[in-house]
C-alpha cells in the first residue's frame, strides 16, 4: 500500500488512516476490527451492515451499506448493527390479504406522516414512502411489488419520526401477496398431484436402474429445449 495515499476516517470518532479504495467494511477491518456484528453477506443482500456517517463540511446525515460503500476522506461513521423493531406476532393463515391484516398487526401504519425520510435513507433506493402510502390504502399487492428489493437493514425504521416499522410491514404484505393474491400456477399443482399419485415413479426407476454407460448415453443424447 506504500504507493497509495492513505486517507483519514473516523470510526466512532477515532481517527484511522486507510486506503481510499476500500469499502467501509474493509476499512473497518484494515483499521483492525475483527467484525462480529454488522457483517453478513458482504455483498449487499442481507442488510446486516447499515452504517450512518457524515463527511467534513457537510451538514447532512448520510447512510450506506458498509459492504457496498466506498470510504471518503474525513468520514465520521458508526454502524447500526441492530435496531429494535420487532415483528408483530401473527400466523399467516389467520390473516386476510387486506387492510384488516395491517390494522391487526401494525395499527400504527396509519400514523405515517408521508415525510419521506425513509425513502431518503433507503440504501436500496426503494421509494419506501410510496409503499407506505399503498399500505395505508390497504393495497397489499402494491406494497409487495414496490418493496420487493428490501433487504431489511432497518434504516427506514431507525429514522422514522412516526416510529413505523416499514420493513416489517413490507414483508407481511409480500407474504400475504405470495400466499393469497398471486395468480395460481395450475401446472405446479397438477404436477404435485401426479407425483403424489406415483405417476412419475416408473420413469424415474428406469433411469435409476440404468448402468452408468446407459445413463451417460441417455444424458448426452437428451434433447434440449430451445431458447
Amino acid at each position: 500500500m506504500a504507493d497509495q495515499e492513505l486517507i483519514p476516517i473516523y470510526i466512532m470518532n477515532k481517527q484511522y488512516l486507510v486506503p481510499p479504495t476500500l469499502t467501509i467494511m474493509r476499512a473497518l477491518e484494515y483499521a483492525g476490527y475483527k467484525l462480529i456484528r454488522g457483517v453478513g453477506c458482504r455483498a449487499g443482500f442481507c442488510g446486516a451492515c447499515a452504517t450512518v456517517y457524515r463527511t467534513a463540511g457537510d451538514y447532512r446525515l448520510k447512510i450506506g451499506l458498509a459492504c457496498a460503500t466506498l470510504v471518503e476522506p474525513e468520514m465520521y461513521l458508526a454502524q447500526i448493527p441492530f435496531f429494535p423493531a420487532p415483528r408483530a406476532q401473527y400466523h399467516l393463515e389467520e390473516l386476510k390479504p387486506d387492510m384488516s391484516a395491517l390494522l391487526k398487526t401494525y395499527p400504527e401504519v396509519l400514523r405515517c406522516l408521508s415525510c419521506g425520510t425513509c425513502t431518503k435513507v433507503c440504501p436500496q433506493d426503494i421509494d419506501v414512502k410510496d409503499y407506505m402510502a399503498e399500505a395505508m390504502r390497504g393495497n397489499i399487492a402494491g406494497v409487495a411489488d414496490k418493496s420487493f428489493d428490501c433487504i431489511m437493514c432497518g434504516l427506514c425504521a431507525a429514522r422514522c419520526p412516526a416510529e413505523e416499522k416499514q420493513y416489517q410491514i413490507a414483508i407481511l404484505c409480500r407474504r400475504l401477496y405470495g400466499k393469497y393474491l398471486a395468480p395460481r400456477a395450475e401446472h405446479l399443482h397438477k404436477r404435485v398431484q401426479e407425483i403424489m399419485d406415483g405417476k412419475h415413479d416408473a420413469e424415474l426407476i428406469r433411469f435409476k436402474t440404468m448402468s452408468k454407460d446407459e445413463l451417460k448415453k441417455a444424458y448426452y443424447e437428451r434433447d434440449i429445449e430451445p431458447e
Binding site: T21, L22, T23, R26, E29, Y30, G32, K34, L35, I36, V39, G40, C41, R42, A43, G44, F45, C46, A48, T69, R87, Q89, Y90, H91, L92, Q124, D125, F148, D149, I151, M152, I171, R174, R175, L176, Y177, G178, K179, A182, P183, A185, E186, H187, L188, R191, I195, H200, E203, L204, R206, F207, K208, L215, A218, Y219, Y220, R222, D223, E225, E227
Partner: protein
C-alpha cells in the same frame, strides 16, 4: 469511476462483434473435450492443492489443504472449561445454522410437535441462502418431468451422485415450490399464474424458477419470518455458534456446546436430535480464490461432525462459479448470477470473440475461462492485476427488449451501478470465484448419518450433487433436505432417552492425532475468517 480507457477499448471490440454474435452461439463441448478441459484447467485437478487426510473416518481421502488443516486440527474447546452437569438448555431438537436448510428443518420439526432451538453464528438469515440470485429448479412444466430433471442432475454431477438422494431431490422439487408459495414466497409468474422458468447451466428444460434476482433472499426471508411466527416452540439464539458436538454415553450425538460470540461464554445445549445445517466453506479461500460466500461460511459443521466419526463425501471437489466479478476491485469475487447467461448473454474475450458455449456446466465454463486467460492470454487485465473476460449483458436488452436487465437483474444493476458501471449498456468483467462446497457430510435421503442422533441438511451435506452441482439445485437441496431433516427428527425425538453427556470423543481425537504422529497448531472450527489488515479479500 467506471472502466478506465484501455478497458473501454476492449469493450468497443465487444460491441463491434455483437451484431454478428447475436446470430451465432459457440458449440457445446463433447464429453471428451469437456473431460480434457477439466483435467487441464479446473482447480480441482491441481494435485499440489490437495492432500490425503491422515486421521479420522476419511483417512486417505484427498481434500484441499485449507480444509485438511481444519479437519486434522485440535478442538477449540477445552473439555475442562465446561461443566456438562450444568445444562443451559434442554430441547428435543437442536438445529445448528440459521440459513435455508436450518429454517426449513425448524418449521417441519415444530409441525411434528418438537421443541426446537436454532443456534446460529451471525443473525438468523445471514447465510448463503440469502445471497442466491438466480433461482431454484423444479420440473413442474408440461414438457418436463422429475425423470428428466434426474438425468440433468446426474449428468451435471459427472454420474457420481447418490441416486437415492437425487431421486428425493427431483421428486420433492415441485412439492417444495408449492410449499414455499403457501408460506408466501413470490415467484416470478405470467399474468395467468404460469411460472416463468428459464434455463441454467446444464439444464435440458427451462425449469429455473426465480423471484427477480433476489430468489434466495425471498426464500430466506420468508422462511425466517415463518420461524419467527412460532417463538414458543422455536427459540433462535443468534451470535452463538456451535463449537463442538456433545455425545451421550450410548454413543449418540446429544446436542452441542455453543459459544456466545460477544461474551465468549460457553453454553451447553442438550438435545435428543441434532441437525447440522451450517452451510459451506467458501471463506476458507481454497487455492487463494476469492469467494461469493457469506462471512460465516467456514466449514464448521464438517469439522464438528468429523470428530464424532461422521463420514464425509466428495470433499475433493469445490465449485468455482464461472462468473465472479473481476472489476471493480471492491466487488472482486462477488457473484454475477448465472441468470445473466440464462437470459442470453455470451462470454467473450479481449477481442470480443466467443470461446465457450455460454451454458456449459459450471466446472467446464470455469475451466474454459481460466484457459482463455492463462493459456491463451486473451483475458483483460484490470488495474489491480487480475484477469477476466467479458460477460456481454447488453445483449439481453437486444434479445428480450429494453428494460429487461433492470427488471430481471435489479440486484446486479445495483451492485455495478454503485461503482459507476451500467450493465444495461456495458459488459461486466468476470473470472471464476469460489462458490460452493459440492461435498460434505454423507447423508441418506432422510438426512440421517452414520452417527445416531446426528442429522445433516443443505450445503453441509454431501452426495446429492456428486462432483458438480447445477445452478438452482442448491436452493432446492436446502428446502428438500431441510424439510426432510425436520420431518425425520419429528418422527424420532419421542423415542430418544439420552444417557449421560460426554466430550470423551475429544480425548479419543487427541489420541488419534498422537497415534498418527500429528501435533497440529491449528484449532478448529475457526468460526470467522480474520481479515484484519489483509489485502485483497
Amino acid at each position: 469511476m467506471g472502466y478506465p480507457q484501455y478497458m473501454r477499448d476492449s469493450i468497443a471490440k465487444v460491441e463491434a462483434t455483437r451484431p454478428r454474435r447475436l446470430q451465432e452461439t459457440f458449440p457445446m463441448l463433447t464429453a471428451q473435450e469437456k473431460q480434457a478441459l477439466l483435467e487441464k484447467f479446473h482447480p480441482d485437478y491441481i494435485r499440489e492443492a490437495m492432500r490425503e487426510l491422515r486421521v479420522g473416518p476419511n483417512k486417505g481421502t484427498r481434500t484441499p489443504h485449507e480444509l485438511a488443516d481444519l479437519l486434522e486440527a485440535r478442538p477449540v474447546l477445552d473439555p475442562k472449561a465446561v461443566n456438562l452437569d450444568n445444562v443451559d438448555y434442554e430441547t428435543d431438537v437442536l438445529i445448528i445454522g440459521g440459513g435455508g436448510a436450518g429454517s426449513a428443518a425448524a418449521i417441519k420439526a415444530r409441525e411434528a410437535g418438537a421443541k426446537v432451538i436454532m443456534a446460529t453464528k451471525l443473525r438468523h438469515g445471514d447465510a448463503n441462502t440469502m445471497m442466491a440470485q438466480g433461482g431454484i429448479q423444479a420440473a413442474d412444466k408440461e414438457n418436463d418431468s422429475p425423470a428428466i430433471h434426474y438425468l440433468d442432475v446426474m449428468g451435471g454431477g459427472g454420474f457420481t451422485n447418490d441416486p437415492d438422494l437425487v431421486e428425493a431431490l427431483v421428486k420433492d422439487a415441485p412439492l417444495v415450490i408449492q410449499w414455499l408459495e403457501s408460506l408466501g414466497c413470490m415467484f416470478d409468474k405470467q399474468p395467468d399464474g404460469t411460472m416463468i422458468t428459464i434455463h441454467g447451466g446444464g439444464t435440458s428444460r427451462k425449469r429455473m424458477h426465480s423471484a427477480r434476482d433476489y430468489s434466495g433472499a425471498e426464500i430466506m426471508r420468508t422462511l425466517r419470518d415463518e420461524v419467527r411466527s412460532w417463538p414458543e416452540d422455536i427459540r433462535v439464539i443468534e451470535f452463538a455458534p456451535a463449537v463442538e458436538l456433545l455425545m451421550d454415553t450410548n454413543g449418540r450425538v446429544a446436542g452441542a456446546v455453543l459459544m456466545n460470540l460477544e461474551t465468549n461464554e460457553y453454553l451447553v445445549v442438550k438435545a435428543k436430535c441434532t441437525i447440522i445445517a451450517t452451510g459451506g466453506s467458501g471463506r476458507l479461500h481454497y487455492q487463494n480464490y476469492p469467494t461469493t460466500n457469506h462471512y460465516g461460511a467456514t466449514g464448521d459443521g464438517l469439522v464438528m461432525a468429523y470428530r464424532v466419526g461422521a463420514r464425509l463425501a466428495f470433499i475433493d471437489t469445490m465449485q468455482y462459479h464461472p462468473t465472479g466479478a473481476a472489476f471493480p476491485e471492491q466487488i472482486v469475487g462477488l457473484l454475477v448470477t448465472e441468470k445473466v447467461r440464462g437470459l442470453g448473454a455470451q462470454v467473450v474475450n479481449i477481442d470480443g470473440e466467443q470461446f465457450v458455449f455460454p451454458r456449459e456446466t459450471r466446472d467446464a465454463e470455469s475451466a474454459a475461462i481460466i484457459r482463455e486467460c492463462v493459456e491463451r492470454g486473451k483475458g483483460v487485465t484490470t488495474p489491480s492485476g487480475i484477469q477476466g473476460v467479458w460477460l456481454d449483458s447488453p445483449m439481453i436488452e437486444i434479445i428480450h427488449g429494453p428494460g429487461t436487465v433492470q427488471k430481471e437483474l435489479p440486484a446486479m444493476v445495483r451492485q455495478f451501478g454503485r461503482f459507476g458501471i451500467d450493465i444495461t449498456k456495458e459488459p461486466m468483467l468476470v473470472y471464476p470465484t469460489l462458490h460452493y462446497q459440492n461435498g460434505g457430510i454423507a447423508i441418506k435421503p432422510d438426512c440421517t448419518t452414520d452417527i445416531p442422533g446426528l442429522y445433516v441438511a443443505g450445503e453441509a451435506s454431501g452426495g446429492v450433487h456428486g462432483r458438480n452441482r447445477l445452478m438452482g439445485n442448491s436452493l432446492l437441496d436446502v428446502c428438500v433436505f431441510g424439510r426432510r431433516a425436520g420431518i425425520t427428527v419429528g418422527q424420532h425425538f419421542r423415542e430418544v432417552t439420552l444417557g449421560k453427556l460426554t466430550l470423551s470423543h475429544l480425548d479419543r481425537w487427541e489420541k488419534e492425532l498422537k497415534d498418527a504422529g500429528l501435533d497440529p497448531k491449528v484449532c478448529a472450527p475457526i468460526l470467522l475468517p480474520d481479515y484484519t489488515r489483509r489485502k485483497g479479500v
